[in-house]
């Protein structure tokens, strides 16, 4: 069904692509026979039919693959960058470019040994170079392979702009963030529906005098409780993480756990939150952060931790910092050490070319000058092949 729709869309795009490559004036109604001949040539430049991340390889580098719409809402309820979400809505399809860092990560994941302690991968690069998109590509791969994906869209959201800070019931000196926790649990539920009934709890959790969750109940019940009882949602998050950690490498009903954290440097910096006496809150004092840090430690096995650094949402970090040392700080670096660093660079010539052709194909570049060689050179100059800058530039062309 999806394939049929895909081919129909391909036929449409061919009819639009051909005049651009030709004289560039108006839509020409050509015979279908001619279209069939030219279809493989024009499409193979920047698009690929290979929509399964597991089967993508170096030959697909620089090409766009479409995320099937059915996967879209389940896998990415909350992970994508906001501008990309708008683009998906405008173009009516979610196309992701296959790039070197993501392929490298996926190859690592394929070959890793899951009986050993977890490998930690860190994506780093200058602002706007495509770290979050590479992370999402990897998350897509993990979910198509049937892993349980724990995707934290932005760790910075948990350390700033929090309106409600409740003192934790579980631990006296810590603080809870009910809204953030319940939001995250909701999204977690959407992503991993099919796992929720399979995983059983191994411990009894007592929430209040009257509420408790028994051993052996499915995880789904715990998550539902966390979503409905907002007050204890942070503790529920902690419980969920603990359960998953314990059960990830298990031999019976074992599943692989992928922890994908965006903006991991937020866990070790400073926060902008304040207690009632106006003294600043350290990240350790937040329940969510505390539990997440335990997750990132490599004392469990059966999965992988994929993280990105982000300067954009980070607090008190200079805008020119992008290396792990600078953004993670001493403490963070020591906790993350050892990790596999994966640098994400700006677009190469081929990648830029395919991005440009993609925008042309989607009729995103309306200005007639942008179709000329000179216009392309101008775009290269003005954006220096930085993906986000290019995207913002093309937005008004």
């Amino acid at each position: 069904m999806a394939l049929h729709r895909l081919s129909f869309r391909l036929r449409q795009t061919v009819a639009q692509v051909r005049p651009l490559h030709g004289s560039g004036c108006g839509q020409q109604q050509e015979a279908v026979g001619m279209e069939l001949e030219t279809r493989p040539e024009t499409l193979s430049i920047f698009r690929t039919q290979e929509n399964d991340p597991a089967c993508q390889s170096e030959q697909h580098l620089g090409q766009y693959y479409t995320v099937p719409p059915s996967h879209f809402h389940t896998v990415f309820p909350h992970g994508l960058p906001p501008r990309y979400q708008q683009q998906v809505k405008t173009f009516n399809e979610g196309c992701v470019m296959v790039r070197q860092p993501a392929l490298e990560l996926i190859s690592h994941l394929k070959r890793a040994d899951y009986s050993k302690p977890t490998m930690r991968y860190l994506l780093y690069g200058v602002k706007g170079s495509g770290k979050t998109m590479s992370l999402c590509h990897t998350v897509h791969y993990c979910s198509t392979q049937g892993w349980l994906v724990l995707h934290i869209p932005d760790a910075h959201l948990w350390v700033k702009n929090c309106k409600e800070l409740l003192p934790s019931s579980y631990h006296a000196s810590r603080f809870d963030q009910p809204i953030q926790a319940s939001n995250w649990l909701r999204n977690f539920r959407t992503t991993n529906e099919h796992f929720l009934s399979k995983i059983k709890l191994r411990q009894r959790y007592v929430w209040t005098k009257r509420e408790s969750t028994e051993e052996g109940r499915p995880l789904g019940e715990l998550v539902d409780m966390g979503v409905s009882r907002v007050k204890s949602s942070s503790d529920v998050v902690g419980a969920v993480l603990k359960e998953l950690r314990l059960q990830a490498g298990g031999t019976e009903g074992g599943f692989r756990l992928a922890v994908a954290v965006d903006g991991v440097n937020g866990l070790w910096g400073r926060t902008t939150l304040k207690k009632e006496d106006k003294s600043p809150v350290a990240p350790e004092e937040l329940t969510l952060v505390h539990n997440l840090r335990k997750m990132i430690n490599n004392d469990w096995c059966g999965g992988a931790v994929i993280a990105t650094l982000s300067q954009t949402g980070s607090l008190y970090a200079p805008s020119s910092a992008y290396l792990p040392q600078e953004l993670l700080g001493e403490e963070g670096f020591d906790s993350m050490d050892p990790f596999v660093p994966v640098p994400v660079s700006l677009y190469s010539e081929k990648e830029f070319e395919s991005c440009y052709l993609y925008y042309l194909d989607r009729h995103w570049l309306q200005h007639p000058h942008s179709r000329t060689e000179e216009g392309k050179k101008e775009l290269i100059f003005l954006s220096n092949r930085n993906p986000s800058v290019l995207e913002r530039l093309c937005a008004f062309l």
């Binding site: 200058v126 805008s319 020119s320 101008e378 100059f381 003005l382 220096n384 930085n386």
Partner: protein, 385 residues
């Protein structure tokens, strides 16, 4: 020591001239004397209406005394500075005064100055009638005596030339290709300049008639006899575009051509090292240009000279910039890039760049705040009561 503090007013050579010379030659002598007191063109438009200044306020003797004092003072100054008094030029005088009286003021007109009294005291019309009330000039009652005398002069000369031509025709020596006056690179006096010359207001119509008459004089084949007269009423055109100093290309050890340029805008200064290496990378103060100039407008400013000449991906740039804000830094770098590119371009391309305005430094600076106003232009809130 006559460091002239020039506000006092004196009188003119006119009176002296009128006494010394008789009527027949008065008009030509007047013009000659008037011409000897010419001021530079650029001052023309700043001058007030000389003719309307009224009767003279500087007396003749006063001016003469000033001139003598100036000359003596010049010699004293030369002795003080250890220079030769005979070859002491006005430029030397200016430098010595700037050295002896250093001034912290910004306005050039407020600094101490020592110039010839002719340049300091404005030209004024002398009294044009004698003790008996009878005017000296025969055209006084026309109202514009110098203008009409000039017109009469010119016409007399034209008639003389025609007479000369007729005599030559009579002798049979008339040829059409006699030596012509060269008018290339010069222009007619402007109306304001003519007014200043004649110390009289003239109307546009009068000026047009004057130019017409001069053209008529020039149309005669044998007008070269009056060349001196005509050249008095022409000015040399300024040399187009202060010639750009185009440095020759330099080559570094790998044989790659490079050149440098610097530019300024408001308070920002920038220098650029342009290398002909074939990649389009740009680094500013060590960081990437996309990171240094997050605003698109600044990057477009950097792109302008390269895009204009169509060499976008060719050059590799290392820039350093300081001072000012982001916009002025971008403008300074743009000028620096254009100047550095000159060594790589041909003459015609340099001319197109100049006409595009890429090589002109932007003279705009922050306007001074005035007292009684909140800013340069903004006034305080007007309250009715």
């Amino acid at each position: 020591m006559a460091a002239s503090s020039g506000r006092t007013v004196g009188s003119f050579l006119w009176k002296c001239g009128n006494f010394c010379f008789n009527f027949n030659t008065v008009s030509s002598n007047l013009t000659r004397q008037v011409l000897s007191r010419q001021l530079c063109v650029s001052a023309v438009f700043h001058r007030k209406n000389l003719a309307a200044a009224g009767p003279e306020k500087f007396s003749e003797e006063f001016i003469k005394k000033q001139v003598e004092e100036f000359n003596i003072g010049k010699r004293h100054l030369a002795n003080m500075m250890g220079e030769d008094p005979e070859t002491f030029t006005q430029g030397d005088i200016d430098r010595s005064i700037a050295y002896l009286f250093p001034s912290g003021l910004f306005d050039n007109k407020a600094k101490p100055l020592m110039k010839h009294p002719d340049e300091v005291f404005p030209k004024q019309r002398a009294v044009q009638w004698g003790a008996d009330g009878r005017p000296f000039h025969f055209l006084f009652y026309t109202g514009k005596q110098s203008y009409y005398s000039l017109m009469h002069d010119t016409f007399t000369k034209a008639l003389a030339v025609e007479k000369h031509q007729d005599r030559l025709r009579g002798k049979g020596l008339f040829t059409q290709d006699a030596k012509q006056i060269s008018l290339v690179g010069s222009r007619w006096l402007l109306k304001e300049e003519l007014e200043e010359l004649l110390v009289e207001t003239i109307s546009d119509h009068d000026y047009a008639r004057f130019i017409q008459l001069m053209e008529r004089l020039l149309s005669l084949p044998y007008c070269s006899a009056e060349e001196d007269f005509v050249q008095r009423y022409r000015r040399q055109l300024e040399i187009q575009s202060s010639k750009q100093q185009v440095q020759p290309l330099q080559y570094d050890q790998h044989g790659v051509a490079y050149s440098t340029g610097d530019g300024r805008r408001k308070t920002a200064t920038g220098t650029v090292l342009l290398r002909d290496s074939g990649s389009g990378s740009i680094s500013i103060n060590g960081t990437n240009y996309v990171h240094y100039f997050p605003v698109l407008q600044d990057r477009e400013q950097l792109m302008f000279p390269l895009h204009f000449m169509g060499v976008l991906g060719r050059f590799d740039m290392q820039c350093s910039v300081s001072g000012g804000g982001h916009s002025s830094q971008a403008g300074a770098l743009r000028l620096a890039i254009s100047r550095a590119m000159l060594s790589f371009l041909s003459e015609g391309q340099v001319e197109t760049m100049r006409q595009a305005g890429l090589l002109t430094p932007d003279p705009r600076i922050k306007e001074r705040k005035k007292p009684g106003q909140e800013g340069a232009r903004r006034k305080f809130t007007w309250k009715k009561r």
